[in-house]
Structures are given as structure tokens and as C-alpha cells.
Symmetry: C2
Subunit: 451 residues, 2 copies
């Protein structure tokens, strides 16, 4: 009999709660600090930026949080998402291992970002917000938020990192289809943007800069709030639906992963798939390896420093305890725009520090090679970001074969690459520069941090 | 309780046979003719172009044909495809009707074309073919065939209609990812292409021209065969898996359509969803309306003539009995490149003539408007081709509301528009010219036909 390729769940099997890892962490995350006083900030410090319900989730230690019906209803547009057994990829590799992937690119936004976009738009609308500002790197987050805001009747203003704005005009157009306004960042619309442009008129931008711009607009207007697509605890909370579904699907497949892999930008797609498996370890002692894969040119987890730093370039956020390359660091213009972020989410940072997570860094060229092998075998053209997870999975399969063992590998295919196809053109033109950020360069970047 | 949005089938529920409508047609299709003798041609006349198994399917009158295991296995990468209830679209329209859509864009190629690409590549490989040539309009067919050929170890040469090649660089790159070679058509590589370029060096190309070029290369080499993405009986046969799944899914939903709608280029996506419902009428007397929607600028079904004509521009194919605008007709450069074909498949032509199918023509601007409404409500960005089916469904819902009745409407969402996003840009720029081909223009086009 042929091997089953897809493990599906019905809408009725979709989880109805998000899982909050904070409840099970042996060392709780350190608190965010007020940069001026260096004292822990309370939830009230965030009210200019976020609606109250999201602030509550940000600081919650409850293990489970109910997903509102309105959010579940929109999730049903595309969830549960399929889990695939990579039958053709395994065959091409000749590996003894089993490779599974959870595909989060099958929804309207083309990535996992829809899971938190829908939730964030819903809570904002419920609290009377009229407009949302946000940043986007490669554009998946902006697309996700555009549809969600339009659905709930909210205006959306997106600051899109300039290098991605130029590389990926399709993403901007997609946001326009969903009724959003898109501005290349750094822009002259904000003080934060103007300051960067004064220093470097050709700045390619970065997620850190775009965040500063979006926050600046939000705090100026009581009816405008800001929304972030990764990093924060509430964002990661919303993504845990991925891993909860994957647990049910692996059970349906009669299997359990030895290792769970995700690419790493701010932490949300990795945490989304990984944390429910970590819960199984914390609660039931089920062994698991969790592996993040980040770009060698933006290696905060493998070469960054665990310290308090700002989440944005201009220093508008509270100070967060995280692995960072310094909030002024501007990463190389790699095509995985969603991974071009200087820091890592607080939850992942603490868990990495405590040894529950492994991190590795990869060069973009090797990742694209893996992405093309994946496309030619499994069909789906992966987002540049997702190729890092694929490359990580290929490494694990090859390593297992060298050791003469069969492992069960699960990775998160966080998005498709239809709107990032120009990156593949660069690959074929042999025009994908690779830069490995050295320890010295990281130290230099961190020494530049000013508070 | 919330309405269910998706009706899914498991891999085990996937149909294992294709359905051949010829077995149930009251008037069988007229035979293809040899252009020189005007006598019916036999299967042997096609052996230079197609492998024997596909020729057998082309002329078969068997009701069911088994799907080979190797084809079923690749179908499982993405089939069964989901059937959606368009809950959000219905709400936005305020309609009393129920709207369902079968989504064929969720696979690697982004359209229904994968269903026949996999089958055609398989049969060619089985009969020792080494290289395949084909044409592509918007690029969905070329992408579908690229992956399938690469999977089965076949080379692929794609002649891509020049206007689409220029409008949609992403599609060319996607084919490159899947290892295919792509040539803009008309090209200097063939006599057919050179002849067109002599007459008009700036020719935008057409599917008819690209077919001539691909066939010319195929007939010159015994190890090269040609492959067509629509129109022919065997292509339509392979697409019937769509409608067979939809029948099972409608049953699961406890519903049955009053009308089934598809956009119309050569006939394959429409026939694929519609013919199994027509089988239910022929065999069990279940009432159904079948509606095709074609561009007003390429209206072969609504304004063309039923006659014998060539399937390609250069006159390399047999003469086929079909609705046509004349094989030399070059349609307007609309963005629905897949609908820019002068003729209609023989099966659909006969069934339209016999009154089993309805046809209507729409302007591209109105279709894009429908496509944007669809994207903003249901999330999925439709291919320009698929917006014609959407526009048809919107018409039906509004008509039912005017009549004060509730109908059940089913349409085929044949593909996504991620790689056609520049067309949406043109829409927002108010730069989508609309041309309605008049009866006089059609008569003029047909009078130019030479044999």
C-alpha cells in the first residue's frame, strides 16, 4: 500500500485554546524594564500601544486561554492545516528517517502569520480601536494583518522594510488588495525614519526600524494601536495552535517526532510548532529535541548576547531580556526578510538559556539549495524563510543516516514562496551573497548599543 | 453553531477512476478530420505527437478509466482538494443563496492543471519518451507540467505566450525551479514562430501559436512528444476527478448544486467539475444547470461558430468540430492568459450545441471586481482566469435574490493569483482595458480562416 502523504483534521478537531508555555517554564521569563528607571514595568505602560486583552495575554501565566468564537470562525477558513509526510523528499534523500512537515502556507496570507493576525485584529476591534499600524519584513505578516483588519473593519498602515518593498512588489500589491496602506521604511513620515535617513539615505531598513516607525504613529493617536507579528508572548501564544494540531496529527499517524525544527526570525513560527511538544516534556516527560535555524548573517541565538535590549531601533519599546545582536544592528540584505531581526523573543531566549532549545545558523545559499530540492520533490515552493527549516531537517536526516539510525523529524513549513520568486532568480544567477557574522562583528555591534 | 467552512475528504476517499462523458452523451462528438482529405483520421495519425495510451483515452468511449497507482500517489500530494462553503462571501453579498467553491489552487502548480500534467507525464515516461514540448498561456499549465516531468525524469520545453512571459516573470522562474526550459512564443526556434514574427515582429503571441511551435519541435524527434493542457478529450477526462470529489463533498455537506460554474479557456477546468454532475443527470435524471464564463474579448462559445477548425494557428492539428473564432484569431491581451484561446474543446462544443451547457461572456474589469471582493471575504487571491467563475457565481446569487429564491451555487476556483499579482496592480491603476468582440468582428475573424 502507498504511504499516506497527508494527515488531515476536521474543523471540529481544531483546538479551541491556545497554550501558554509560561505556566510550565521552570525559570519564568525576567520582566520587561522601563529604560529610564530600569525598574519592571507594569501592564499599564503598554496601554498606549496594545489593547488590554493582548496586554493581559502578554503577562499571563495561565496555562490555557480560550480562543474567541470570532477568531475560531476565521481560523476555519484554513485550519486545521495539513501535516505532510515528505514521502518524495525522503525517497530523493534515500534516508532511513521519516520526515514530516506542518504546512502553514496554505492560507490566504501564505504563512503562519494569519494565526495571530486574526486574533490581534479581533481584540483591537473589540476594544474600539479604529486603525492599526504595523511593520512587515518579507510581507507575510503585513498580508496576514491586511486581510484580518479588513475583515474586522479596521484601517491598517504597514511600514514595510525597504529592501523587501523593493524586492517583493507582489507583497505590497497583495496588501493593497486587502485594503491596507503600505509605506517603505525608513520613511519621512516619522521622526524615527527621518533620523535613519539622515544618517544613511540609502538605508535598506530593518524590522527594528519599521517597528519604531509603526509605534511612533500609534502612540500619537488614541484610536490607533500598534501590532507586532512575532517576538512577543501573546503572538507566540496565538501560534501554539500549530503545534497542538501537529500533536493530534502525529498521533493519528501513529508516530512521534524525535526533533521539531523551525526557522527563526523573532520566534513565532518555531515556538508555535515547538511549545506544545515542550509541554509534553514538561508535563509527561516525553523526550524531544527542539531546533531553531537562523541565518548566519543574523545569528542572535548562536552568537548574540543574552541581555536587556530594546525590541526596536529607536528605543521605543521597554527593555526586554533576550538574545540580541544589538537593537541598532542592520542585518545583511538576505532574501529571508522575515529573519532579519536583531533579537529573539523573551520566551525562546529564556528556554534557550536554560537548555531546552538548540540553535544553529545556516548560510542562505545552502538553504535555497534545500528549498529547491524540496520544491522538486514535494512540489511546494517554500518561502525563503522556510528554507532554513528545510535545511535543518536535511541536516538531521543526513546525520541520522551517518549514525545508522532512523529518526522522526518534524519541521514547520511556515510559508510558500510564490511572492518571493525573485529570490530564486538570484539563486539561479549565482547571485546570493553569503555572509557569516563573526563573533568579533557581533561584539562590535553590541558595543554600539546605546540606552 | 458556526457554519462549517470546509468539506474535506481523506486520501482513501479519493476517486480511483476518471469519468468519460462520451459514454453518456446522446450525440457523440464528430470525428477529427484529416485537413487534406477531409476524411476522419484514425488514432495512428496522432502517434507522432502523443503516446499510445493517451491516444486511446482520446478516442475512448469507456465510461470509466482506472487511474494508475503512480498517478494516484502524486495526486495524494494535494488531493482530495477542499470544497469550501463561501460563508464570508455570502454574508458580504447578503444573499439568501448558498455558494460553494472547489479550490484547485492549493497544489504546487497553483491550479487544476496538475491533475492532467501528472497523468500525461506518467504515460509519456512509461512509453519511453525522453522529452516533452508544450505551450503555456498564463503559466499554470507550464508549472504543472514542469514538476510532473521532473518527477518522472523527463525533459520539458515550454513555449510561453509572449505577453504572459512579459507580464508574469514569476511563472517562468517557477518553471525553472522545476527544471524546465521556457521560451517566449512566437520564437525564432520554429518555422511557425518565424512566420508569425515576419508578419508582426511585436506579436503578443497566443495559445494557438505556442501550440504550433511546440508541436513542430515534437514531430521532428521520435523521442520527443507534445503535451496539451486543455481542449482535448483525454485532458478533460483527467480533470473529472474534480467533479467526482465535489459530488462526494456536496453529499457530505447534505446539499446539491442547482448550478455548477467554471471559467472557460479550452474547457478543462469547467468540464472537470461539471461532467460528473452531468453524469448524474444522464444516469439518474438529477437536474443541473452548467454554466461556462468566458471573456467578452474571446467569446468562442457565445459568439463563435460551430465548425471544423484547427486547434493551433499554423494548422498542424487535425480539424476539430468545435466552437471557434478562427484559428488565426489573436485575442486581446487580457490578464486571464489561460482564457486566450480561439476554440473550445470538442466535448464541450457538442454538449453546448445540444443544449446541456449554458455560456456567458464577461468583461475583465467586472471579473477583477468580483475577484477582489472574493479575496477580501474568503481570503484567497484568485487567478485572473478564476475571477470569471467568481463573477458568474455572483451573477447567479444576485439573480436568485431578485427572484426571491435561494439557490445552491457551486463554482470551480481553478487557481490562485499569487503569480498574477501585476494584473491586480493594473486594476488598481484603472488600466484594465475591456473589449467586447462584436458579432461583426467575429464574422471577420472567421472569414480569415484558411485551410
Amino acid at each position: 500500500m502507498e504511504k499516506i502523504r497527508k494527515i488531515l483534521l476536521s474543523e471540529r478537531q481544531m483546538p479551541r485554546q491556545w497554550y501558554n508555555i509560561v505556566a510550565d517554564m521552570p525559570n519564568k521569563p525576567l520582566p520587561p524594564l522601563n529604560p529610564a528607571t530600569r525598574q519592571p514595568i507594569g501592564p499599564e505602560a503598554l496601554t498606549a500601544v496594545f489593547p488590554m486583552e493582548l496586554i493581559k495575554q502578554e503577562v499571563s501565566a495561565e496555562r490555557y486561554i480560550d480562543i474567541p468564537d470570532e477568531v475560531l470562525d476565521l481560523y476555519r477558513l484554513y485550519r486545521p492545516s495539513p501535516l505532510y509526510r515528505a514521502v518524495s523528499l525522503e525517497k530523493a534523500l534515500g534516508t532511513k528517517s521519516k520526515i514530516y512537515y506542518k504546512y502553514e502556507g496554505g492560507n490566504y496570507s501564505g504563512s503562519h502569520k494569519a494565526n495571530t493576525a486574526i486574533a490581534q485584529a479581533y481584540y483591537n476591534k473589540k476594544e474600539g480601536v479604529r486603525r492599526i499600524t504595523t511593520e512587515t519584513g518579507a510581507g507575510q505578516w503585513g498580508s496576514a494583518m491586511s486581510f484580518a483588519c479588513n475583515h474586522f473593519g479596521l484601517e491598517l498602515l504597514v511600514f514595510m522594510v525597504k529592501v523587501s518593498y523593493d524586492q517583493k512588489p507582489g507583497r505590497k500589491l497583495m496588501m493593497n488588495v486587502y485594503n491596507a496602506k503600505v509605506i517603505p521604511s525608513p520613511s519621512t513620515m516619522t521622526a524615527a525614519g527621518r533620523k535613519i535617513l539622515e544618517q544613511d539615505p540609502d538605508s535598506p531598513g530593518s524590522l527594528g526600524i519599521a517597528i519604531s516607525e509603526a509605534m511612533e504613529i500609534a502612540v500619537e493617536d488614541p484610536y490607533t494601536k500598534y501590532s507586532l507579528g512575532s517576538v512577543l508572548n501573546h503572538v507566540i501564544l496565538h501560534q501554539t495552535i500549530i503545534g497542538q494540531e501537529a500533536l493530534l496529527q502525529m498521533e493519528k499517524a501513529g508516530d512521534y517526532p524525535d526533533v521539531v525544527i523551525g526557522c527563526f526570525g523573532g520566534g513565532s513560527n518555531f515556538s508555535g510548532i515547538a511549545f506544545p511538544f515542550l509541554r509534553e516534556f514538561f508535563q509527561n516527560g516525553k523526550k524531544i529535541r527542539l531546533l531553531t535555524v537562523e541565518p548566519s548573517s543574523c545569528p542572535k541565538l548562536t552568537r548574540g548576547k543574552f541581555m536587556y535590549d530594546f525590541g526596536d531601533s529607536a528605543g521605543m519599546t521597554p527593555l526586554l531580556p533576550m538574545y540580541t545582536l544589538g537593537h541598532n544592528f542592520i542585518p545583511e540584505k538576505i532574501h529571508a526578510g522575515g529573519l532579519r531581526y536583531h533579537g529573539a523573543g523573551v520566551l525562546v531566549s529564556q528556554l534557550l538559556k536554560d537548555g531546552f532549545i538548540e540553535a544553529k545558523a545556516k548560510m542562505q545559499r545552502e538553504c535555497f539549495e534545500g528549498g529547491i530540492l524540496f520544491a522538486r520533490t514535494e512540489g511546494i515552493l517554500p518561502a525563503p524563510e522556510s528554507t532554513y527549516a528545510i535545511a535543518g531537517a536535511l541536516d538531521e536526516a543526513r546525520k541520522a543516516d551517518l549514525e545508522g539510525v532512523s529518526r522522526t523529524i518534524l519541521f514547520n513549513l511556515s510559508g510558500h514562496g510564490h511572492l518571493d520568486i525573485s529570490a530564486y532568480e538570484k539563486y539561479f544567477e549565482n547571485n546570493l551573497p553569503d555572509h557569516e557574522l563573526t563573533v568579533t562583528e557581533v561584539e562590535e555591534a553590541i558595543s554600539k548599543i546605546t540606552f
